[in-house]
Symmetry: C2
Subunit: 138 residues, 2 copies
Amino acid sequence: MAAAERDWPDGIKKTKQRQAVLTALEGSGNPISAAAICAQTEKAGAAVWLSTVYRVLEFFVRKGVVTKVAVLNSDMALYEINRFQHKHYAVCVRCRKIIPMDNCPMEKFVPKLADDGFQVTGHNLELYGYCGDCGAKG
Amino acid sequence: MAAAERDWPDGIKKTKQRQAVLTALEGSGNPISAAAICAQTEKAGAAVWLSTVYRVLEFFVRKGVVTKVAVLNSDMALYEINRFQHKHYAVCVRCRKIIPMDNCPMEKFVPKLADDGFQVTGHNLELYGYCGDCGAKG
DNA sequence: AGATATTTTGAAAAAATTTGTCAATAATGA
DNA sequence: TCATTATTGACAAATTTTTTCAAAATATCT
């Protein structure tokens, strides 16, 4: 269990459940839902109740350990570990595969907003289209 | 009622409810929720049931008339008329104000994806931060 | 225009996701 | 180790979205 041995974030009480949630998030390279995390902890033999998963995720998001990702046409919210680097994804509209993007267009971009005073603190970008497999199929 | 007189999309049966939904979407410059559309139709004197609003929206999205927008930390899905032009928004994390963006970083950008075969058909971008009013307040 | 066939809507119920409650449990500090 | 405080399980409730089906509206055909 990687999360058990890794450095634990400061000021966060270490519990079995939180470790299990973090391990599940680590285990998935891509953003996953609370339900998926719950299922994952069950499979790993350290079952965490769904309501607890939500609470833990909310807590982690507030602490900056985890990031909530808005994915188009996903009816559930998705979460991923905050690796403290920009990360965006391309989503296949057919098979829902999620493919990470290695660069970011916002690096050299100044947005034009009607509100001059808007302070941008972050952004969320998502590409969609057809992945290699699905594009080939038609 | 603007939507009543405007060109009606081809192959789409014209009903009072669909017109009311489209009018509500037209009336709002920004993406709005199904519940907001429902309330708007009521206020306009052409009340449409919430379930119908969802059905109509789903239908319009499939037809390409309307776009579903993924907004971070919004518990409801938001919709806007497809004006067939890129449109992105900045969202204030404090007051939830939505401010349209007049340019787009994806115009001159080639994404680096692990999947070489991925065909990008669109994208969704959202900035977040503090709007002029909220930033000033601290 | 009128009758018919097909869609679409209202109305309500159900499903799915997320949040809240509270007693019991577990983790941290003295 | 014991006490204090935070956290979890278990369930209930709230919210958003989807489904169902008879009734109503719309388009089509003559």
